[in-house]
């Protein structure tokens, strides 16, 4: 990219990019950077309903909130279920999305359109309505799933694992379309000659995928993987709506919902913020891995 060299430059040229960037930077500073700073700050204070209403002075606790969070068995249990749940969601989403993307390239226009439209429908469904619809499908009394499977009035949200499983189904359902369509767009951009050559050499479809398509698609696969990690790690609405705020006795809590419950239900804003900071750090670690991957692929920023 050669950019501006050799072009007649108005005198304001040096300022122009910053002028264009100004609105974005102002918005991001005020509504993203500043809240992140505030989050860190609140996490260091004793901050409960008494402080919020101004009744009592805020007390600096240092890392006291973090000590409380890390000292609580519940936190580690929630962290573990968050990681395992998010990982399973990512794996299933990617597997389903990639498999269906390949399938899309193997069929004629009509089945392709049908699958594409169905996927767009699932993608377009808002998280809240997707959650209520899946609950309805699996409702012990009125849902069709138990009837078809002959499960009687088995309640899916009662057990810890079956509740997580139900949420996982909904999450995969509404997030595989992004993967499928992105990967499909990527495959379509692969030159036909490359695939023909591979086929003439007698490569099997699996071999073509592994040796030709997958390497060419790696940048795309990296993007969809990271996006899935970010989205699934932050699942909130589905858990909140489908398990009634975190499941029976909090058995289905994930970090997000846990932080929210601590802050807004228990008015422990300091503790909730500390959990938020832990989450932020975890996701930033993922970002660094992503950046390294991009670098290694020689991607130009």
């Amino acid at each position: 990219m050669r950019a501006v060299s050799g072009r007649p430059r108005p005198r304001t040229a040096r300022l122009t990019p910053w002028l264009y960037l100004a609105p974005a930077l102002v918005v991001l500073a005020a509504l993203l950077a500043y809240p992140v700073y505030q989050l860190g700050l609140i996490s260091l204070f004793e901050y409960t309903q008494a402080q919020v209403s101004g009744g009592e002075p805020t007390v600096f606790r240092g890392f006291g909130n973090y000590a409380d969070v890390f000292g609580d068995d519940r936190f580690w249990q929630v962290l573990l279920s968050t990681v395992v749940f998010a990982a399973l969601c990512v794996l299933c989403t990617l597997a389903v999305g990639c498999a269906l993307a390949v399938l899309l390239t193997r069929v004629r226009a009509l089945p392709r359109l049908a699958l594409m439209l169905a996927a767009l429908g699932a993608w377009a469904t808002p998280a809240v309505t997707g959650s209520t619809v899946w609950l309805f499908l699996f409702d012990p009394d009125f849902g069709p799933v138990n009837r078809i499977l002959g499960l009687g009035d088995h309640s899916w949200t009662y057990g810890r694992y079956s509740a997580f499983f139900l949420v996982l189904l909904e999450v995969v359902w509404c997030s595989f379309p992004f993967v499928m369509i992105t990967v499909y767009a990527g495959i379509r951009a692969v030159p036909a000659e490359v695939l023909e050559a591979a086929a003439l050499d007698g490569a099997s479809p699996w071999r073509i995928w592994r040796s030709v398509l997958a390497p060419l698609l790696r940048p795309i696969l990296t993007v969809v993987t990271i996006q899935s990690v970010i989205w699934d790690f932050k699942v909130f609405t589905q858990i909140y709506v489908m398990t009634g705020g975190g499941g029976i006795a909090g058995q289905n809590l994930v970090l997000n919902v846990y932080a929210y419950q601590q802050a807004f239900a228990s008015s422990q804003y300091g503790l909730g913020s500390a959990i938020g900071v832990v989450m932020l750090v975890l996701l930033l670690a993922v970002t660094l891995v992503y950046l390294r991957l991009l670098r290694r692929q020689g991607e130009e920023l």
Partner: protein, 281 residues
């Protein structure tokens, strides 16, 4: 793509097509069940014998949804929020994407990395500081408290995605425009903007969804003035965990899904090519 298709023997293609159709049916089924549930007459859902069709479609559930509360008001609020977020973040992201792709300046790479990092910030964790920020700014219980954060959250991804589209516009075009005496502003809005518009349409899908789906902020920031509430909250009135009015929930869900669905179908082509363009870069 044609090449791949020719590699597949005919019987396998038929199997693949059957699999694709079956998958489509499974994926679409929850949506079908939602619409069906919305049109079922009172008592049919509760009768416990769910047929995959209904004998007497009725609008009762929709009447209940519109009758019991200010549903129309909530829908309008949701549209206002999503519309404002799409337009504002689209324009701001266009300017920023132009800056980082068509200019070379100090801190350019740093900025790009910052936009990437900004995408990872868990929005949900920011609910606490944003709550206090909105309270201090007197924005609690206003649509502004829903619009402003979502503009900020959709910006980094929008900038990142639009980059590819701005890059794709040839430099020569810009030089030609200047030779013809066009100003920078004129080039930006009358030449570049229309060319990047397809990319903006694809990008807008993401900002639209993020704002339309908003559940957490509506729940946390609209606490006393329910006339400023949005659709998810309206839906939850019918969704009492112990005793849900499934007909009402499904009618509300259907109404909430339709605008997004319409939007998706309208931009579908743009979206597919847009994602391809963005990731090819």
């Amino acid at each position: 793509m044609n090449a791949v298709r020719n590699l597949v023997a005919r019987p396998w293609r038929l199997v693949a097509e059957a699999a694709a159709l079956l998958t489509a049916a499974v994926v679409a089924f929850p949506l079908y069940w939602m619409v069906l549930g919305a049109f079922r007459p009172a008592g049919e859902i509760e009768s416990g014998a769910p047929r995959p069709w209904t004998l007497a479609p009725s609008l009762d559930s929709f009447r209940r949804v519109f009758g019991q509360q200010e549903f129309g008001r909530y829908a309008l609020n949701s549209l206002l929020v999503a519309g404002a977020v799409v337009i504002a973040s689209g324009l701001i992201a266009f300017l920023a994407a132009t800056a980082v792709t068509r200019f070379r300046f100090r801190f350019r790479t740093t900025l790009l990395i910052m936009f990437l990092v900004a995408q990872m910030v868990p929005v949900e964790a920011l609910t606490i500081p944003l709550f206090f920020l909105m309270r201090d700014a007197g924005q609690l219980n206003t649509l502004g408290s829903l619009i402003l954060p979502h503009i900020a959250f959709s910006l980094p991804f929008a900038i990142w995605m639009l980059r590819g589209f701005v890059k794709a516009v040839p430099e020569a075009l810009e030089e030609a425009a200047y030779l013809d005496g066009a100003s920078r502003t004129r080039f930006l809005w009358q030449i570049l903007f229309p060319l990047v518009l397809p990319g903006l349409v694809a990008t807008s899908v993401f900002s639209f969804i993020s704002a339309w789906n908003d559940f957490l902020f509506a729940k946390s920031f609209i606490i006393s003035d329910t006339s400023q509430s949005t659709l998810p909250m309206a839906l939850l009135v019918f969704f009492r965990p112990d005793d849900p009015d499934w007909g009402g929930v499904m009618a509300g869900s259907t109404l909430m899904t339709i605008p997004v669905l319409v939007f998706f179908v309208l931009v579908q082509r743009r979206l597919v090519s847009g994602l391809g363009g963005a990731v090819k870069d």
